[in-house]
Amino acid sequence: MTQEACVLDRKAEAAPEAETEPWVAVVAPAVDVEDRQDAVHVTVDLPGVDEQALEISVENGVLTLAGKARIEAPAGAERVLGEFDAVVYKRALRLSDRLSAGGITAQLRHGVLRVAIPKREETKARKIAINVN
């Protein structure tokens, strides 16, 4: 059930990014995907990415999350240990027909992006009252 709702799309992730400078690494950020009652919730670690550098798009049923992280070097500084870089994050998820791409909401806070993809009305689990005579 869950796997049908939202599947990470490796093929779309691997698609070349025309606008990316060739020396910037494209990295798949860590993602949590949860299938809840009324929506699929996608949480992505995007440290160093601000709203302006974030792109969320849906095309041909594939939700793509991309963001460019920034590294802020202090004034007059020389980096003496480097374990993370100004990378481009990119992740793609194939949305099932049961999800409504139109109602997607997204919130970015403290380097974490939370996306909610609502389920279509007819596919939501519903309680049906049974009338007993």
Partner: protein, 146 residues
């Protein structure tokens, strides 16, 4: 002109790379998939500035108030707990984001002015600024001609 410090020719890079006190206890719950292949958490960038060191730690989604930063015995320790807020209920299709306690320790190549250590948190990146103690800074010594 002679430059003197508390060590004659300390190499900051060597000090930082041979970090004996380095350890990592994240992913303590042994959950599959979380952070596989990542030996150290959080990843750090260390910058040397004219005034001291700046340490950046990549810690997205962490409550900055819950991160402990300690400078003692010539070491900087950054530790805390990372909770992803994920519900352990069914319906989990994919869980990759690391969760659990973390700790990293850096050997500092100089004495730090403890009162002036500053920390800030922006877009999931924690920055700790460690100014070098005034008495520890290299001093220029002028040679006087006889």
């Amino acid at each position: 002109m002679i430059m003197t410090g508390n060590r004659g020719t300390w190499s900051l890079l060597d000090d930082l790379v041979s970090l004996q006190g380095e350890f990592n206890r994240i992913f303590g719950d042994g959950r599959a998939g979380a952070g596989v292949g990542r030996a150290l958490y959080p990843p750090l960038n260390v910058w040397q500035t004219p005034d001291g060191l700046v340490v950046d730690a990549e810690l997205p989604g962490v409550d900055p108030a819950a991160v402990e930063i300690a400078v003692a015995d010539g070491q900087l320790a950054i530790s805390g707990q990372r909770s992803t807020g994920a519900e352990p209920a069914e319906g989990v299709a994919c869980r990759e984001r690391p969760e659990g306690s973390f700790s990293r320790t850096l050997q500092l190549p100089f004495r730090v002015n403890q009162d002036q250590v500053k920390a800030s948190y922006k877009q999931g990146v924690l920055r700790v600024e460690l100014p070098r103690a005034e008495e520890d800074k290299p001093k220029k010594i002028l040679v006087q001609a006889a």
